[in-house]
């Protein structure tokens, strides 16, 4: 079968063999320790060798040799048929769905700005509030017999910026990535999420910035884990693989991963597709309340679901279950490993899901019962602003955070050979990420986005995230049909 990429070097190569040492996929090797040898078929185009080549001699390109082009059976279709014909296996993939035929609605939304009739605000000169509080809001104010207001506020999360880090488990990613995320979240005044692989003991000091996840496998979940967190997230589904479970192969369950997940070394860790103790909204309510019981009602409980066709009524059910926060992960959400057909064909884009959920909860007058976190393909600060204007309280980013740590989105996480040392447990590879430096880069990224958000809001004459939330008048659409505008709840540009 044809190779996908071709590795080339030019005459500036000094044969330092650095590329061979960096390549974790075996695409570049040093024969008898001296001569470079290229194995193009193993290359995943992760760009690690290119980045580390001291003379800039390397270049990776798509292989020019193609199958005969056909408008129905594309290159990948033929390649995948061959792979499955050879192996009989379910296709496994990673990162978010790359499908070009599903629109990225963010790119079709335009933001407003103030001109003449209302003044814009200069964020460098005037206060601009990016802090948000997420959790339940009480419908009324209670007063004591003395007339004073009774503090009846349920527990909240306070975010200094509306950007959080998405759930990525220890096992899918390395401990160094978890360290970088935890440290950055603490510095930024936001939250990171353990995913379902448990929380490594060395990260217990970051408990005030940590959200712990309870997924169907219940790996690493115990009373101490639940109480070493600012909030607890029940994971029902994720955008990349709605409706199916997880499977961490025994190969990745070694050393501390085994200890943290509390799964014996070398044994597969299977997360069943559903939680078998949740078959209804009533059962979900019960798990929410039992988690609150176990943690003394001191922590908000988040329910994370994938954006699917009936997301609005599902969100309505969750809002009525006693959960404080709903986290919705869209079609383009990332993953460490998911069956390709599921990743590319199941679920709906986050933009439509958030608009539909916000609208439905408002109509039912229960929008304030829950906060909404949106995720799934948020690439920059304007995507974040648009998501909030469509109705989210905050956003969370996973892939963007990994990119800040070096990821080049080669989508090979499921191989466990990540050359950037992120999605791997190989000690030789994980040490490629310095958690201190990583945290610094994450802090830079989120600070930069926050500044941009302030600037965008200032331009619109808005001075707080609170005033931006669900503010659909701040958005106009281009290249959208009437139905899409209707679901997004926005007008066409020029209207």
């Amino acid at each position: 079968m044809l190779r996908r990429y071709r590795i080339r070097k030019d005459e500036s190569c000094v044969s330092c063999l650095r590329c061979a040492r960096e390549c974790s996929f075996g695409a570049i090797t040093a024969e008898d320790g001296q001569t470079l040898s290229f194995h193009h078929e193993r290359c995943v185009d992760c760009q690690r060798c290119v980045s580390f080549c001291p003379t800039g001699a390397l270049c990776i390109t798509e292989d020019e040799n193609r199958f005969r082009s056909n408008s129905v059976f594309r290159q990948d279709d033929i390649r995948e048929i061959d792979l499955q014909a050879r192996t009989g296996g379910v296709l496994l993939s990673s990162m978010g769905a790359p499908s070009e035929s599903v629109p990225i609605y963010f790119d079709k939304l335009l933001l407003n700005a103030s001109q003449v009739t209302n003044p814009s605000i200069d964020p460098l000169r005037e206060p601009m509030e990016t802090a948000v509080f997420i959790g339940q809001r009480k419908e009324g104010i209670d007063r004591g017999s003395d007339g004073r207001i009774v503090d009846n506020l349920p527990p909240h999360l306070e975010l200094r910026t509306p950007i959080m880090f998405s759930a990525m488990s220890y096992g899918a990613i390395s401990l160094n990535v978890h360290k970088a995320l935890a440290k950055a979240a603490e510095t930024l005044g936001t939250y990171w999420n353990t995913g379902e692989g448990g929380l490594h003991e060395s990260l217990y000091p970051y408990k005030r910035s940590t959200i712990v996840q309870v997924a169907s496998g219940r790996f690493g979940v115990h009373e101490t884990y639940l109480n070493t967190a600012a909030a607890i997230e029940i994971k029902i589904g994720q955008g990349a693989k709605p409706g199916i479970g997880g499977h961490l192969t025994g190969r990745k369950i070694i050393g501390d991963v085994s200890k943290t997940r509390m799964v014996p070394e070398g044994l597969d860790a299977i997360s069943p597709a559903p939680h078998h103790d949740i078959y209804s909204i009533e059962d979900l309510a019960q798990l929410v309340m039992s988690l609150k019981e176990a943690t003394g009602y001191r922590k908000p409980v988040i329910v994370k679901v994938a954006a699917v066709h009936n997301i609005a009524p599902i969100a309505s059910g969750i809002a009525r279950s006693g959960a404080d926060i709903i986290s919705i992960d869209g079609y383009r959400g990332g993953t460490g490993a998911a069956p390709k057909r599921i990743r590319d064909n199941v679920g709906i884009p986050i933009e439509l899901a958030i608009a539909a959920v916000d609208q439905r909860l408002r109509e039912e007058r229960i929008r304030d019962r829950v906060s909404i976190i949106a995720s799934g393909g948020i690439r920059n600060s304007s995507d974040a602003v648009k998501t909030i204007a469509l109705g989210a309280d905050a956003v969370s980013v996973g892939t963007a955070a990994l990119c800040a740590l070096g990821c080049h989105i080669c989508a090979s996480c499921h191989t466990g050979r990540c050359a950037w040392g992120l999605a791997t447990q190989d000690p030789e590879l994980t040490k490629r990420l310095d958690p201190e430096k990583g945290a610094e880069r994450l802090v830079n990224l989120v600070n930069a986005w926050t500044r941009e958000i302030q600037e965008i809001m200032g331009g619109m004459g808005i001075n707080s995230i609170e005033a931006l939330r669900g503010n659909r008048m701040a958005l106009r659409g281009v290249g959208l049909n009437a139905k899409e505008l209707d679901i997004l709840g926005i007008r066409y540009a020029g209207e």
Partner: protein, 238 residues
């Protein structure tokens, strides 16, 4: 030992009793009793509600009536002993400790139970269990004794489907109905019965003051995952 009435004293006050031995009476469906309990002994008189002893983390809970759904959910350590029967989703995701049910268990008992190092989850059901017993079993031991159901099926359908570690022991010679071809059924020899089953079953019997020999009578079969048919063979990386 303190005796408290759940109707008068409320769950919150009972929770404040701290370490020691406490009896609560008058239970009529109150949920989350013993939730996350780390130590102490709790005797429950009456019928507790759902999510009894969930996240149990070292405490001991005795129930003289029936338990409802989701008892011992995500339990980590300790003992739950129920003199009556248990509802659905018993011991879901349990990692350690012991759950003893003298009567029957409903659907989905022992789904995704696990074991890790010194932690080994043990679930013993005195009567019979419903369908989906021990699905996704990832470790630990499930024993169904079928007391009073001799000669009949003591599990429902889909017993052990998707299990990949751990063992289900059944006191019967009958293979469970529609047992998956990814599972192995074998008979239990005398040595295994004495070494593994006797200590657990004796402990179970003493918790309810019933004769252990009666529970050990007759032959046992064991159900385990067929390691040659693991999940990882399902996939092909793009």
């Amino acid at each position: 030992m303190k005796v408290l009435d759940i109707r008068k004293d409320g769950l919150e006050d009972i929770g404040k009793q701290g370490i020691g031995e406490v009896t609560i009476t008058g239970c009529l469906g109150e949920r989350y009793i013993g939730c996350g309990m780390k130590d102490g002994v709790l005797h429950v008189v009456g019928t507790p509600g759902n999510a009894l002893a969930s996240y149990l983390d070292g405490g001991t809970v005795y129930v003289d009536g029936n338990a409802q759904d989701a008892a011992a959910d995500t339990m980590n350590a300790g003992l739950l002993a129920v003199k009556g029967s248990a509802g659905d989703a018993l011991a879901y995701g349990m990692r350690g400790g012991r759950v003893y049910i003298l009567g029957d268990a409903g659907y989905r008992a022992g789904v995704h139970m696990k074991a890790y190092e010194e932690k080994k989850s043990i679930l013993v059901i005195g009567g019979r269990s419903g369908s989906f017993l021990g699905e996704y079993l990832a470790g630990g031991i499930i024993i169904v004794l079928g007391l009073g159901y001799e000669g009949r099926n003591i599990t429902g359908y889909f017993c052990g489907n998707g299990m990949y570690a751990g063992t289900i022991y059944l006191r019967t010679d009958k293979t469970p109905p529609n047992l998956s071809d990814k599972l192995i059924r074998r008979s239990v020899d005398k040595k295994e019965k004495e070494d593994i089953l006797r200590p657990i079953i004796s402990d179970f019997a003493s918790a309810f003051s019933i004769p252990a020999e009666k529970c050990l009578e007759g032959s046992f079969i064991a159900i385990e995952a067929d390691k040659s048919k693991s999940y990882s063979q399902l996939y092909a990386a793009v």
